[in-house]
């Protein structure tokens, strides 16, 4: 069934302040729309529940990339094209650059925003594993002020998040301290472009004399929302990476993940491929740095 344009109100107040005031006036009544690559799909098929939408497109206060020595801050309205083109992201956040390059197609990347990807809250979100293994924080904003929380606490359930009804995702802060870590990100989908992931795994790790000193693992499409794999991390921390610890890590991952059968894949395929991705990363980790 076709969506009816007249059934939806859409306004573009043009500034961040005006958007926040509108949302504060009627908390929960306004649905923000940025590049529309998610909401307009629902609209086209008549499945867009929101009757009142407020446009975030073209608001400069939301579309920026700033960096200092400690971190890189990305405005929620920054597009994946913006991120692909940014030298600091390419050099310091290669996993995020990679995710930005493989999301959708060129025509999606020019419109889809980092904030939209996170607020939409798909379990398969392409930017999420990278942000989780980089220990990113999100900054939320409303007329009441701003607050920062770990991105890891942002998703609270399937398509649920920590935003209050009058709040907007303002920016994502990504620390730069991971450039010395070994890093990994791989997505498995039906094809290179346009595919929503069947499973994706990201990792950052620091080794000390062959032993795992620090490790972060995060997955998409293995639970109701993108999540760290803490128990799998625990199975590896302090261990040397060898056949035994890889086997134990695979077992820990298989016990930890909660994938489902859906239109794109099966739970069993996702579990097995996730374990294979983990093994690929750990096998790379055993090689000297720079050869992986």
């Amino acid at each position: 069934m076709r969506g009816d344009a007249e059934a939806h109100e859409l306004v573009a107040p043009g500034s961040l302040t005006a958007v926040l005031e509108l949302m504060a006036g009627e908390p929960g009544k306004w649905t923000p729309i940025a590049g529309g690559t998610e909401l307009m799909v629902a609209h086209a098929s008549g499945r867009l529940p929101a009757s009142k939408l407020v446009s975030l497109w073209g608001i400069p206060d939301l579309r920026f990339i700033e960096s200092d020595t400690q971190s890189i801050t990305i405005g929620a309205g920054t597009t994946f094209t913006d991120m692909r083109a940014h030298p600091a992201i390419a050099s310091d956040l290669p996993l995020l650059a990679k995710a930005a390059a493989w999301i959708g197609s060129i025509a999606n990347q020019t419109r889809a925003t980092l904030g939209g990807n996170l607020v939409n809250g798909s379990p398969a979100a392409d930017s999420s594993p990278a942000l989780l293994v980089y220990d990113a924080e999100v900054e939320l904003i409303s007329v009441r002020g701003r607050r920062r929380i770990p991105y890891n606490d942002f998703h609270t359930g399937y398509k649920k998040n920590a935003l209050a009804p009058d709040e907007l995702l303002f920016a994502i802060h990504v620390p730069r301290r991971f450039s010395a870590h070994r890093q990994y990100l791989r997505k498995v989908g039906t094809r290179r472009a346009m595919a929503i992931s069947k499973v994706a795994l990201g990792a950052t790790a620091m080794l000390d004399d062959g032993f795992v000193r620090e490790l972060r693992l995060a997955a998409a499409s293995l639970a109701a929302f993108p999540s760290r794999l803490y128990r799998t991390e625990d199975a590896l921390c302090g261990k040397s990476v060898d056949a035994n610890s890889i086997g134990a890590a695979r077992a820990a991952l298989l016990a930890e993940v909660l994938p489902i059968d859906d239109i794109r894949s099966t739970a069993e395929y996702r579990r097995r491929v996730a374990a294979n991705l983990l093994e690929e990363f750990l096998t790379d980790l055993r090689k000297p740095e720079g050869t992986a």
Partner: protein, 164 residues
């Protein structure tokens, strides 16, 4: 029917246009129905197939996913604006010469994606061509002739990079 909607203006293929339509109307529908620019096609209507590709402020977008209010004040280029000096764009000539167009539904979107690619990257590698057109689906050609068309146009740099 149109009187209640505030005006939305944009420059389409170099011409100032103003429409009075619901702000959530898709740019695709405004182009086709209100501006009678039917070169831009609808395929999937969900941003997967690229048939509706146009350029908005120089960026390639799927016009089916753009609520027209977000095109307010922007510069929109469609396949109708691709011609140069009253003749076919070198890419259009190459698509004809190389068999890059068959049924024609994907062709306007392919041309927009390809012209966008060549404007930024006049001599793309095959990988870059495949990436640049990855969001555009064709069910006739098997893609190879489309890629060959882009290569043929790119080998004439003085014309292929002609930017509108």
């Amino acid at each position: 029917m149109s009187a209640n909607w505030p005006p939305i203006s944009m420059t389409v293929n170099g011409i100032e246009r103003e429409v009075h339509v619901p702000p959530m109307k898709r740019l695709l529908d405004v182009l086709r129905e209100d501006l009678r620019l039917t070169g831009t096609k609808e395929g999937c209507g969900e941003g997967e197939c690229g048939s509706c590709s146009v350029r908005m402020d120089g960026e390639l977008v799927n016009s089916c996913l753009v609520p027209v209010l977000q095109a307010q004040g922007s510069r929109v280029e469609t396949v109708e604006g691709l011609q140069c000096d009253g003749g076919l764009h070198p890419l259009q000539q190459a698509f004809l010469a190389c068999g890059g167009a068959q049924c024609g539904i994907c062709t306007p979107g392919m041309l927009m994606a390809a012209s966008h690619l060549l404007e930024r990257n006049p001599h793309p590698t095959m990988f870059e061509i495949r990436e640049g057109l990855a969001g555009n689906l064709c069910r006739c050609t098997g893609f190879v002739r489309i890629f060959e068309s882009v290569i043929a146009a790119a080998s004439r740099p003085e014309q292929a990079t002609h930017a509108r």
